[in-house]
């Protein structure tokens, strides 16, 4: 399954690992903040509606 990367295995794998970590971190952070803001907003809207 794993292709033979020869003497550059470390190089290629670390490049892939680093990029994928960065991409995943970016998406995860975006989603995490998105969720939180959405929840907070919902809470505030509910509160304001209740209070008038």
């Amino acid at each position: 399954m794993m292709p033979d990367l020869g003497k550059y295995a470390d190089t290629v794998l670390s490049a892939y690992a680093a990029s994928i970590v960065l991409l995943v971190a970016l998406v995860a952070l975006s989603l995490w903040r998105g969720r939180r803001v959405r929840a907070d907003l919902r809470a505030i809207e509910a509160r304001m509606r209740r209070d008038g």
Partner: protein
Amino acid sequence: MSLWEYANPKKFLATSERVLPAFWALSGLCLVVGLVWGFFFTPDDFRQGSTVKIIYLHVPSALMAINAWLMMLVASLIWLVRRHHVSALAARAAAPVGVAMTLIALVTGAIWGQPMWGTWWAWDPRLTSFLILFLFYLGYIALWAAIDNPDTAADLTSVLCLVGSVFALLSRYAVNFWNQGLHQGASLSLDKEKNVADVFYQPLLVCIAGFVLLFVALVLYRTGTEIRARRMRALIARERAGAA
């Protein structure tokens, strides 16, 4: 039905909510297909060996790093001219994505440089101008973060983006003048020799598409987040006005 309708936050939220799943799915698909194709099913380059596989990450991220800045520039102009909040917020939302792309390009490039050029970093024009771009991103984000009032922040960052773009272009020329680098030479082996290029080219295109779609998805999603955060601010202010 004009495009400006989406400048209405509500409309924007509703529409982006509808199309987002498709973008997420498509971008994920393209990325997986392109990267798997590139990683597992392409031959090694005769000179660079297996390191060519890095190209599937390096080139798309480099492209998107530049395009993200261009998108911010356009959004800033729209904000300055037509004052649509969504457009300012979209610029704000794009900046961290741009930073991440720049970082990926820098990191993969540096890792690639170690075997190819024998050094992690060289002051090659293309590399250097990327570093400068990175600094611009940092400054832009720091300015957004430093200002409380969102409209003031939008105005200031927009002007910074405009002025910064001009200076980024200037730096590009300056850097070229200052040092003829390594990078072009390395990339020529792929560009010019068509016979090798094709094998790498097709998965590369898929990867580029994946990055573009991912960028769009992220920016849409993050713009939504910014809009909500902004609305939350407005609501808190309104509550405060009621209380005071």
